[in-house]
Amino acid sequence: MSDVYLAVTILWGFVFIYAVMATMDFGAGFWSMIYINHSKTKATTVANRYLSPTWEVTNTFVVALVVAVYSMFPKGAYTLGTVLLIPGSLILILLAIRSAFLVFSHFVSEYEKILIYISGITGILIPGLLISVLPITHGNFVYVTGGKEILDLAGLFSSPNEYAFFGFAISSTLFLSSLLLADYSKASEELDAYKVYRRDAIILGPISLLMAVFIMLTLKTESGWLYNKMMDNFPFLLLSLLFFLIGGLGLFLPSGKVKGKPRLSVIAVTLQYLAASYVYGRAHLPYIVYPYVTVHSAFTDPASFHAVFIMYIAGFVILFPGFIYFWSLFMNDKRYLRRRKANQSPE
């Protein structure tokens, strides 16, 4: 594989990892807000138990993603940085409010509710704005006049395709996070919370699939080149659908006291998104911003890439045991998952 494709694969990997982690993160924040008055089901408690130790790690991935863009595709970062000034700033403002108030909510119990409401609402808007970067890179709303790259915001927000992506991001956020929290509550033996999240996942799964179809339909008229190239990999889209069905099935399989094997569903649905994002990413190549910037024209200096690539491997080797330890403490430790109300305050 050439350097350029190696680089873009790493970048795609970051986009995918962040997308999955962020949907779970922002989704969990939203659910903890929705169920804040259902103290009986513990749905909010479970969401916070997941969220408290993980949000900071998730946030680091978004920084890692941006750094990956500018260290491997500086020219791409130049164009994206220029056209994303307004939407990017909005995301940053929402992200700042969301993260800060999420942290603060653990420290001032009297104001916990209002803080969780603010962080829940700002949080759920972020995935919608983040995913808008994708339709922007399709190039229909980027103009070059007098050497300046300009984003046509009005055009963007009057495009059905943008709204399809927006809706897809929000429904997927809620779908993936309810699935994960279903699994997390089952592992925590919070069966009431499990039932709530399982129900939410069953409702939201089909909605997010519908949104994906809506994306394809609007893509066909707005960015035919991308649509056609995606359809070249139709078998992978079918595979993605198959994983969706397996995920759905997982929620209905018999298993002990309650219905469903949520762990299977989480894995299957993650694979569903992996297959779909592979098709999308592959079709998007070689463009970073169509038709102005390609992965080739944006690529960094080869010497720089080699140094960066070696550091990626070194970093992975160093960090991997840390992630495993972290996972074992917060995702897999029965003492953490099943602690009782007495000392379960999230901080």
Binding site: S52, P53, E56, V57, N59, T60, V62, V63, A64, V67, A68, V69, Y70, S71, M72, P74, K75, A77, Y78, G81, T82, V83, L84, L85, I86, G88, S89, L92, L95, A96, I97, R98, S99, A100, L102, V103, F104, H106, F107, V108, S109, G147, T300, D301, A303, S304, A307, V308, L319, G322, F323, Y325, F326, L329, F330, D333, Y336, N343, S345, E347
Partner: protein, 453 residues
């Protein structure tokens, strides 16, 4: 205002706000680690209580430090795409390695806070050391980009194209160690004096000799030791930083010292305001020959003055005032830290005079102002360049407009964050008093770190 000035104002505001939390975020882990080690060594519960309370402060301020850091990192691309296009090609390594430092800090911070009661004491120490190293490394690495801006290395620009890229040579640019060292050491000063401030204030509010008073006095002494040691080290390193300016960025040194004429036996001017018309520093105190000696260790060192450079390349002349303010704060902190230690440890006095306690109350805000002066000096003193003699600030800025509106929005957000972080800290510590925590620490089986009423 021009778009360039607006972009600089917006980014400058972001950084000025972020560095408060970033600096405390580097400094506090060392204080927490010190308290935790003192606790493991002496088994004195009060140190465990200090570690717990400082950890809470750390966790709350991360709620602002992390999002504002994320904003700073992304605004680099949004506001300065021309700069980042060069940095991405040449100087990507520090950003990338910094990510790992973030990960280490984030992973182990969560482990230390949320799993405190489930892990062994030695693992708590390991987690804390990891947090401290992660925080320190991210400060060192990001400052390395700033060092590179002043002493770029590892690439050439030929006909507008970047060629001959050596990423590790850029990474180990001449001022890497001295500049990042300066930032790292001064962060420990800030961490220490922020604690000193609060402790001193609480000593004024509680009766002399009471349990709570003694607790805060103990905390004050820990912070004076750490603050004193690191302010001394920062001063030594600062001297070296100035010599680096003499070698690599002479116009910045000239602006810092208000020196117009190139000369040997150059005087050091302390205080005053640089005046362009008369080419002198008004109302300053001159120490003959001292600048030459400081710059090159001998009186006949020739120090370049501003007149040797085209006026369009001059940094703003207020750099002299900022530079003096930074050095002034640093020197004052050395004096008050060692003064206090002398008073207690050598003269064996059991209480500080009230005026001195008030000085300690002021020391935290002073230390924060010191780093603000230092950063503003370091960044405006590099103007008109983003990369010294390679890339101008005007070439770096975005071609987008509408920055004024964003500036207002971001300032509003920072105001909300500043207000709420102060509110949350006050509220939390009002409900969880030192006495509460001391009681918790004494009872077996009551979690100290997990406690949060």
């Amino acid at each position: 205002m021009s778009d360039l000035l607006l972009a600089r104002s917006l980014f400058g505001t972001t950084m000025a706000f972020h560095i408060i939390f970033a600096t405390i975020g580097v400094g506090l882990p060392l204080m927490i680690l010190t308290a935790e080690l003192l606790y493991q060594k002496t088994k004195d519960q009060e140190y465990a209580v200090m570690a717990k309370r400082w950890t809470k402060v750390f966790a709350v301020q991360l709620g602002v430090g992390i999002p504002t850091g994320t904003i700073a990192g992304m605004q680099l691309s949004l506001l300065w795409p021309g700069f980042m296009a060069v940095i991405g090609k040449v100087m990507a390594l520090p950003f990338q390695i910094e990510i790992y430092a973030f990960f280490i800090e984030a992973l182990f911070m969560s482990i230390y806070v949320y799993a405190a009661e489930r892990i062994r004491p030695w693992m708590r120490i390991v987690s804390l050391i990891s947090v401290a190293i992660g925080a320190l490394a991210s400060a060192v690495l990001i400052t390395n980009v700033h060092a590179f801006q002043g002493t770029p290395d590892g690439f050439r620009i030929v006909n507008g194209r970047i060629v001959d890229v050596h990423p590790w040579k850029a990474f180990f640019n001449p001022s890497f160690l001295v500049t990042s060292g300066h930032v790292a050491l001064s962060a420990y000063i800030v961490g220490a004096f922020v604690i000193a401030s609060v402790s001193a204030f609480k000593m004024l509010k509680n009766d002399f000799g009471s349990r709570v008073y003694k607790f805060h006095q103990k905390a004050l002494m820990v912070s004076l030791v750490i603050g004193g040691v690191f302010s001394l080290l920062t001063a030594l390193n600062g001297h070296e930083s100035a010599q680096y300016l003499h070698r690599y960025q002479p116009e910045k040194l000239a602006a810092a010292e208000g020196l117009f004429e190139t000369q040997t036996h150059a005087p050091l001017t302390i205080g005053g305001l640089t005046d362009k018309k008369t080419q002198s520093v008004k109302w300053g105190v001159e120490v003959p020959w001292a600048l030459s000696f400081l710059a090159g260790n001998s009186f006949d060192t020739k120090v370049k003055g501003l007149n040797d450079f085209p006026e369009s390349d001059w940094p703003p002349l207020f750099a002299h005032t900022l530079f003096n303010a930074m050095v002034g704060v640093g020197s004052l902190l050395i004096v008050i830290a060692f003064g206090g230690l002398l008073w207690r440890k050598v003269l064996k006095k059991d209480r500080f005079p009230k005026w001195l306690i008030w000085v300690y109350v002021a020391s935290g805000p002073l230390a924060v102002m010191g780093i603000e002066f230092g950063w503003i000096f370091a960044c405006t003193g590099r103007q008109p360049w983003t990369i010294y003699h390679m890339l101008t600030t005007a070439q770096s800025v975005t071609t987008s407009t509408n920055i004024g509106m964003l500036f207002v929005l971001f300032v509003l957000v920072y105001a909300i964050l500043a207000f709420s972080v102060i509110f949350v800290l006050f509220h939390y510590f009002k409900k969880n008093t030192v006495a509460d925590d001391l009681n918790r620490a004494e009872q077996k089986g009551v979690p100290l770190f997990g406690s949060n009423s």
